[in-house]
Subunit: 129 residues, 2 copies
């Protein structure tokens, strides 16, 4: 290794500014992935189960997503029972897809890094890309 | 859509517990990806540039990674200049690879979700998987 590389060859190569923090947070990433998979929306209770969150945690994260206009929350009736329906907005879907593209770049970078390390050919096949 | 699905068919399908928060944080993900790509270590200054972080931010994140035993920090001399060298530990590398496997699952889930949505065939080709 050159001990004094001076200028890094790829400046800011690993900055990943595109990893929007509103989306990147682990619980919210799960919530948004659930909602992308259910474009017509999910009742609060189903979303809670899918993401293994408590009522309080899910409410808190939904509020962050709603303020960011990524998710739309509405009340409706399922028979006589009031129900909270959570849906991803068109803007939320767009930003989620942009986020995913950056996430894929992380995977590609990581896979390239692992491949390039001569001590760890055993890690080959990590990425299916 | 069934309005009252009762039990979600895949309980906790989107919980992503394996997304270790120590690694998942955006700046630390960049730091670890840099260090995986440079298994012999990187000087503090190079790492700072690659990840586009300030001295203070990089120090703070390195401390979190060091406490978690994912990164090893050592002082050495480059000629007469003291230098801080940052290296990923074997345990750090192992946990990073485990994290990556979960991240790949997120990408696969997301790609499947996008594919399944009949309104958005234009999103096809998002994932190269």
């Amino acid at each position: 290794m050159k001990s004094r590389s001076g200028k890094a060859s790829h400046t800011q190569r690993f900055a990943y500014d595109g990893l929007d923090r509103v989306i990147h947070e682990r619980a919210r990433l799960g919530v948004l992935t659930s909602l992308v998979a259910h474009p017509k929306g999910l009742p609060f209770g189903d979303l809670k189960q899918l993401c293994a969150l408590t009522d309080g945690n899910l409410s808190r994260h939904l509020q962050v997503l709603q303020v960011a206009k990524l998710v739309d929350i509405s009340k409706r009736f399922d028979g006589n029972r009031p129900q909270t329906l959570c849906r991803i907005t068109p803007q939320g879907r767009k930003r989620y897809l942009e986020y995913l593209a950056v996430l894929e770049q992380v995977i590609l970078d990581a896979a390239a890094a692992v491949e390039a390390d001569p001590d760890s050919k055993r890690a080959r096949g990590l990425a299916h890309t």
